[in-house]
């Protein structure tokens, strides 16, 4: 990461999490990818919620993910829908499934030509405009 990329950029679409998702972004900032697990039924999920979407219990704790994941699908943007990312075309956005089960939207680092569905991925926490993001690399 170049120092320029780490600088705060006013155009960056920074997350504005509510209370349910705030612990997720705080943990990422500290270098950990976390997800929620229901203390009643064991279901695991992202993004942060106040109730378990399986058993509806209002009781969950945060767990740290192993960082192992697989690639569910990906796309490559050639059109800029937002001024910050319009200057970074082409870029890849992916659906990633953690080994623990939860799925999330992410970026896969590197050449998109080598990607294939269900390939193993490894977590790489990177800062974009000063915000810690959970990105992944093949491996």
């Amino acid at each position: 990461m170049s120092p320029a990329e780490d600088m705060v950029d006013a155009t960056f679409p920074a997350p504005q999490p509510g209370p349910a998702a705030a612990p997720y972004w705080r943990a990422l900032d500290e270098g950990r990818l976390v997800f929620q697990r229901c203390t009643a039924c064991g279901n695991a999920w992202l993004p942060g919620r106040t109730e378990c979407p399986r058993c509806l219990a209002p009781a969950a704790h945060w767990e740290t993910a192993s960082g192992n994941a697989r690639l569910v699908s990906w796309v490559v943007y050639h059109h800029g829908y937002h001024e910050y990312y319009a200057t970074r075309l082409p870029y890849t956005v992916a659906v990633v499934e953690l080994a623990e089960g939860p799925r999330l939207i992410s970026n896969v680092i590197g050449d998109a030509n080598g990607l294939r569905i269900d390939m193993p991925l490894k977590l790489v926490i990177q800062r974009e405009a000063g915000v810690a993001l959970a990105r992944f690399a093949p491996g």
Partner: protein
């Protein structure tokens, strides 16, 4: 209730750029045309059901429209389900008519994203915007990639869908885009979000459409010309965002189509013509699979070789669909279905007796199916 409720009238506005027109004004024009087509006075209508404008949702929109139309309907309001809402409202109206809640219903939709705001189609997906996750096309591209990688679906197979529908639109004098497309041109079409090209994506349009519903009995008493019977309908909601959905290649269209076909007492092979929501080419492919026209994963080969073109085995979107007639979400597909069942379509499918129509919304979050029969 198979066939007990009929579509008595259809109407629409011009499609494309309609600057300075409010969605209320567009809705009124479409309703005026639908009432004239049905030969019904406004005062006979006792239900007004409207899909809210996608680009500018407003609280109590159905009531604003009723006031502007000088109506105090028994049954009325708006239903938030994205593009699936048109058919869901038709189904709701049919059930309400069947059960004596109302007698004559207007179902309508209008939007003006072309000259108004298209923000709704380009917005960020919550905190995931930090990853550059923006816009409706990207969501469909994510489904398309998984389908292509899992089943070997090709870009050319998606292209064949665009070629078929653009051919139909080119023949429609009322279509917004009357430019046919060759597969060679499709291959040159620029990426928007890979694997989707510009020519995989629907138009952005201003416009409105409306339909009038009543019982078959009432239509007979009123002498309605060519009433088109509603044979079946169904719904299925995937509901979850693309990033959360357990299987990216299966959607609520499966249960929606199965429910509608069961109600109609028909199999996919009994369907003569289809109007399939084509916001993107991949949507057509996945919907035809979900309805059972092709096995799961086999939609690619099914859509190739001209099968979807007029004269083919299953002509799809015979007026040009969202890819070329108008990008307005969905009700114009019902209007074209009615024209086919009346035998009055611009590209009429010979001896067509059944038409299946799909409407859906979000990134295949919502789905609704309608099956129409030959006009009496």
């Amino acid at each position: 209730m198979r066939g007990n409720v009929i579509i008595a009238g259809i109407g629409h506005t011009a499609f494309g750029k309609l600057p300075g027109r409010s969605t209320v004004s567009l809705n009124i024009e479409a309703c005026r045309n639908a009432l004239a087509d049905a030969g019904i006075e406004k005062d006979a209508v006792d239900a007004l059901l409207v899909k809210p404008p996608t680009s500018n949702p407003q609280f109590m929109y159905g009531q604003s429209l009723a006031e502007a139309m000088g109506m105090q309907p028994r049954v009325g309001g708006a239903w938030d389900q994205g593009g699936a809402a048109n058919i869901s409202l038709i189904a709701f109206a049919a059930m309400a008519i069947e059960h004596g809640q109302c007698e004559i219903a207007l179902v309508c939709y209008a939007d003006n994203p072309r000259t108004g705001s298209r923000h709704a189609y380009e917005k960020a997906w919550g905190d995931d915007a930090a990853y550059g996750w923006f816009g409706v096309p990207a969501g469909y591209a994510m489904l398309a990639r998984r389908h292509m990688e899992e089943f070997g679906t090709t870009s050319d197979q998606l292209g064949a869908i665009a070629v078929a529908i653009r051919r139909h639109g080119a023949a429609n004098p009322a279509a917004q885009l009357r430019k046919p497309l060759t597969l060679a041109q499709y291959r040159e079409s620029p990426w928007v979000v890979d694997p989707l090209r510009r020519d995989d994506c629907c138009l952005v349009s201003d416009g409105a459409a409306a339909v009038v519903l009543m019982s078959a009995q009432r239509a007979k008493a009123l002498g309605v010309r060519k009433p088109v019977p509603i044979l079946g309908f169904g719904q299925g909601q995937s509901s979850w965002d693309v990033g959360q959905r357990p299987d990216l290649t299966r959607t609520g269209a499966e249960i929606s189509g199965a429910t509608a076909l069961k109600m109609a007492g028909l199999r996919p092979s009994d369907i003569d013509v289809a109007q399939i929501y084509d916001c993107f080419t991949i949507t057509v492919l996945m919907t035809l699979e979900a309805y059972g026209f092709a096995a799961h994963g086999q939609g690619g080969p099914f859509c190739a070789d001209g099968r979807l073109e007029i004269g083919g085995e299953l002509p799809v979107n015979t007026a040009g669909g969202l890819l070329s007639e108008t990008g307005m979400p969905g009700l114009q597909l019902v209007v074209e279905g009615v024209r086919q069942m009346r035998g009055e379509a611009n590209l009429q499918v010979q001896d067509a007796r059944t038409c299946i129509v799909s409407n859906q919304g979000g990134i295949m979050h919502t789905h609704s199916t309608l099956i129409l029969g030959e006009a009496a």
